[in-house]
Amino acid sequence: MSENLSYSAKSEVANLIKRRTRLERLKIALSKAPMSAWFGMIVLFIYFFAAIFAPLIAPHGEAEIFPVAYAPWGDGHIFGTDQIGRDIFSRIIYAARNTIGICLLATFIALGIGTVFGIIAALDRGYLDQLLSRIVDTLMAIPVMIFTFILLSVFGPTNFNLILILGILESTRFFRISRSVAVGQVVLEYVEVARLRGENLSYIIFKEILPNIASPLIIEFGLRFIFIIFTISSLSFLGIGIQPPSADWASMVRENAILIQYAQYDITAGLTPLIPAAAIALLCVSINFVVDWYLYITSGLKDDVK
């Protein structure tokens, strides 16, 4: 009896809505994730694991040369050796590190430049905005691949140049997105309050606006990452992308392409050049799956009749 006498709002409401921690929300979201998203996440995890621990996983060195060139599958070399006798399986693992690393770096540069300028343009809405937007329009009207061709043939195809050029060229997409989303945010009260408080520009950009426009940027990040992998792979395949002796999937395809001719006699020989190409495709499919899922969670699509 006595415990009922003291009034408690908590007991009256019965089910108090508890604010969930991030981890809890993540767990709930994960438990609802569709198969495709799980598939994507697991594959991505494997890729990143391989990329980070490449030297520990790979049975042989990245540039270690064995006496037999074009060795068949098995017999000490899981996928055989390439044209100068390097272990293909090891190189595929090292390539994960090089390809993903370089592409990720380029995407981060693009994200950084594009977002900062995008938000500045949105805050400005004046001449600066006009100028930046017109520049970006012009850059976007030109195919990235062709532009990269020219810039690489001018500055020389080093990995550093590759990252920088793609980072800058791809930042236009982030600029567009962040500007168009931020335009809706800068007129809201919280930005005005921050300005009245006398916060400086970088505080307003990174602490106030950025968290509120993060989700479209994350989606764009995923899609751009795929696009950059494609561009860099195409360039490497043509011989002007990631430079040897760094292993990367696309140049491995080119180096071993001749093996396809022997597919009639030994099917594994025909498959060898396709493995690194498939690695790229699988990575891109997985990112697509995860991005789709993220899009599904963050947009209001949940209630939509699918």
């Binding site: 329009d137 030109i142 195919p143 062709i146 792979s233 011989g239 396809i260 597919a263 190409a277 699918k306």
Partner: protein
């Protein structure tokens, strides 16, 4: 308005192309003649190539010539390799025109295959949404969209050229090749280009139609007893032409870029192959010309997409 914007873009790009080359660390004259060349020889060659003039003058000279269809002459092939036999380098135009024809042939055939196929697949996928057919079609298209061009190309080579030798792996064509022979030899690159653009076009056609299917007048048409086919083809499709034509134009532009890799794989003598080779050799006039052709085609295709969008929706002609 849009036309001027397009022109400005191409103009800006031509300036960019030109200026980047002027800032080259290496000098073509020294590069051609080698390190041991005397100063006066270098100077003479520089004067011959017009490299001694200020960049702005050179730019307008170049632009004027480009408008007259003269891209100058190629840097490679000068003296060193072929010896001095009369005219040492080749006219860029003469180098480009036959290659351009080849590339246009390749992309044209691929487009004629890809556009109707992807429209049919996209519309039917939208028609039977969420059926097994729709799911498998979108699933397969996701895989083709996510595969790099060379992956698709090599799978075709593996299946149709080595395991079952139906088509040749290398698509060499010249002026003497007959049309039928041409189709046969370019079959694999055409298939590859078709497949890499089809996935995109199909998915976008599907989503354009599905997007329209959720509007109110479609609901009305459904309620008035129109069949599923009628709703999609008679009511939804006319309004979907604008987004679909834009998708097609964008994908044609994408196909053009994709042809660079595909031509490389099949060693097809197109303009993309030429450009890659010239990038290796740092052959300035050829790369400039190729880049300008690619960029202007790309801009024009996007412009056409915009125009179709405006024409198909007359309301856009009169801005509020």
């Amino acid at each position: 308005m849009r036309l001027t914007l397009g022109l400005v873009t191409v103009f800006a790009f031509s300036v960019i192309i030109f200026s980047t080359f002027s800032f080259l660390p290496g000098d073509f004259a020294t590069e051609i003649l080698g390190q041991s060349a005397t100063k006066s020889a270098v100077k003479a060659l520089r004067a011959e190539l017009g490299l001694d003039k200020p960049p702005v003058t050179r730019y307008f000279d170049w632009l004027g010539n480009v408008f007259q269809g003269d891209f100058g002459s190629s840097f490679s092939g000068r003296s060193k390799v072929q010896g001095d036999q009369g005219d040492r380098s080749r006219e860029v135009v003469g180098l480009i025109i036959p290659r351009l024809k080849n590339t246009l042939f390749l992309t044209g055939v691929a487009a004629m295959l890809a556009i109707p196929l992807s429209l049919i697949l996209g519309i039917s996928a939208a028609l039977y949404r969420n059926s097994y057919y729709d799911r498998s079609a979108t699933g397969v298209s996701l895989v083709t969209v996510s595969s790099p061009e060379f992956f698709t190309a090599y799978i075709f080579i593996l299946l149709l050229a080595t395991l079952f030798p139906v088509f040749p792996t290398i698509s060499t064509v010249d002026e003497t090749t007959t049309l039928v022979e041409r189709f046969y030899r370019t079959a694999l690159p055409v298939f590859t280009l078709t497949l890499i653009t089809m996935g995109h076009m199909m998915r976008m056609t599907r989503s354009a139609i599905i997007n329209i299917l959720s509007s109110e007048y479609i609901e009305m048409a459904k309620l008035s007893g129109a069949s599923r086919y009628e709703v999609v083809v008679k009511h939804a499709l006319p309004n979907a032409w604008a987004p679909i034509s834009q998708v097609i134009a964008i994908n044609l532009a994408y196909m053009l870029i994709g042809s660079v890799v595909v031509e490389y794989v099949f060693n097809y003598q197109g303009i993309g192959r030429l450009m890659v080779g010239s990038v290796y050799n740092r052959d300035l006039p050829v790369v400039q010309a190729c880049a300008l052709i690619f960029a202007s085609t790309y801009v024009i295709l996007n412009l056409i997409a915009d125009l179709i969008g405006i024409i198909s929706n007359p309301r856009l002609l009169y801005p509020k």
